[in-house]
Symmetry: C2
Subunit: 349 residues, 2 copies
């Protein structure tokens, strides 16, 4: 007898069969009641629900997915790290949206490592997720093959890409770097510095640096880079990176940082050694974090709609799950925040 619930199942949880038996109905009837599918009397419904409560039955969605050949309600989301506030915000945007539509986020921190990402993709795909959101556009060949073969909605976020594997939402990091470079060159700075962390891989920060570098080149400026290997891009790193950069190149007039946190670290360092901002040195960040707006100086930066990126990514996945037509690539753009940490020479001391 297939409904036999007598021998308790392997993880001694209450199964549908046990509820059904206790209620004196068949598994199928109990299932219909629980799914409120109709085809049962009120009396039956009541009997079943009493037992559900009494036994503390919790449905096993694994079995549902299995039986129905459906996808799960999981959406895999890979993010490089959470130490970076921006990524945390993107993740929050994603999870809020997904959660509101009954989906769950399965997290993967890749730590900017492609191999890490590949391994995570393999694992998460084995759980039959309903969709995938990955940060960045560079993946290992095997990862690309798996993503292609998965047959589920996929969104690459952060780095805008006009020909994504499936869908994409982000911004053009090269352009944002170029934009900042041109802006600073327009302030008639000529000797530039860049402070960031290790860029082994072709990631978004590298694209920003390349764009920045190109703009400086186009303006016949000079650029000194200070890359801190294997360090997290935070306040300390910005502080010490600036110290190192200025120790090596005393004549630098303006510094562009990988992100706002590092820029604020740099700002504090310049203040500590008595350099005035922007009179003696210009400081520019990237990301426009809340902290940047509350500093004594309004930090010159690039504002990025991070929450929006997360939300749109989640919406794209949800729409495709529901079979709605989806625009496959969305550029959310960026906005240069002039701030008060850079200035024209006429206005400088």
């Amino acid at each position: 007898m297939s409904d036999d619930p007598d021998k308790s199942n392997r993880n001694n949880k209450i199964s549908l069969a046990e509820v059904a038996k206790a209620a004196g109905v068949s598994k199928m009837t109990a299932s219909r009641v629980l799914r409120d599918e109709g085809g049962f009397s009120e009396k039956t419904r009541a009997k079943v629900m009493v037992e559900v409560d009494r036994l503390g039955y919790l449905p096993n969605r694994l079995a549902t997915v299995f039986a129905g050949g459906k996808k799960s309600t999981f959406v895999g989301v890979s993010i490089p790290e959470l130490g970076n506030e921006i990524f945390a915000q993107v993740l929050e945007g994603i999870d809020r949206k997904l959660g509101a539509f009954g989906h769950q986020t399965v997290l993967g921190l890749t730590e900017h490592e492609i191999d890490h990402e590949e391994k995570w993709i393999e694992t998460v795909l084995s759980w039959q997720p309903a969709g995938l959101i990955v940060t960045g556009r560079s993946h290992s060949p095997k990862a690309i093959q798996m993503l292609r073969g998965a047959g589920i909605p996929l969104v690459e976020i952060w780095d805008f890409n006009s020909s994504p594997l499936d869908m994409c939402v982000g911004l053009n990091h090269f352009d944002s770097g170029y934009s900042m470079g041109r802006y600073l060159a327009g302030m008639e700075y000529r000797k530039f510095g860049y402070v960031g962390t290790s860029h082994d891989v072709a990631n978004a920060a590298t694209a920003r640096l390349n764009g920045f570098s190109k703009a400086i080149e186009d303006a016949n400026g000079r650029l000194e880079k200070q890359l801190l290997l294997k360090d997290t891009p935070g306040f300390y790193t910005g502080f010490y990176g600036t110290e190192q950069l200025l120790a090596a190149h005393r004549d630098i007039e303006a510094i562009f940082y990988q992100n706002d946190n590092m820029a604020i670290g740099g700002l504090q360092y310049t203040q500590k050694i008595g350099l005035r901002v922007p009179d003696d040195i210009g400081i520019a960040g990237w990301g426009d974090l809340p902290i940047s707006a509350i500093q004594p100086y309004r930090l010159t930066s690039i504002a990025v709609p991070h929450l929006k990126i997360g939300q749109i990514a989640a919406e794209m996945v949800l729409a495709q799950i529901n079979g709605e037509p989806v625009k496959s690539a969305k550029d959310v753009g960026f906005r240069l925040i002039p701030g008060s940490t850079v200035l024209k020479p006429t206005a400088r001391a």
Copy 2:
């Protein structure tokens, strides 16, 4: 025949049966090869692996869990929000550790709402997770019932609790607030302010405020509270909360904030209106975020081992999954950072 793979399965993925057929072996043999369980010849292994690669087979872990009556490798982790850097760090600590041991984090943002948490618990339990980590110790009755009945490792984090539902790691928030209150009273401040966000529920921030309040009371001080309803505890909130508090009570000598971000917002406000810190007013935060160390002033704060909380929580879950004996409650403590934003009156202007 149970191995018949002829009709492709419902989500047209490659199944083990298809691999087995292509390799000319039984499902079971293919399964053994993939799990490297032994009981097959090298020749057989090669045949199977060739087909695995050729067909791009990815295992279906749903089926594995289902068949084996095992738990999944999911660990549900509920966090109130990610806007707060500390929680993001805790989450990072958890996911790093879990990921290193082949587990996946299923995220749940509760937004400090117990009902939200209850709903999330129900959903995540239906996926048969291997363990659960939840933030905070106050749960709805139904949530408690579900957690009790789940029969999986459970860690309540953040708020230390000597009699947890199962396991617990965190710190005593009341004590940390009391500690700060006593420290400030020792600086001979007498008129205190508190700036935080809405405390409908009995959460950790409320406990801190209560502890602080008690210490002030014990020292015969006066305390004015400024609670901003339904706002996120960030820089802006600290900035405007301080404005409101000082507008109503001009004689306040020292302010304690719900967290460092808010304190830094307050610090900026006091500077904006020309108050000197700590001469005119004392400022104290909570959490000791990296940003606090890099400010012009070293912020007086309470340092909390956030990464450690996440790591220990993950370790507790992993240990219990592996059947190892686990200490059920761990107080990670806190450390008062004297900083330079409060001072004895003799040293004040």
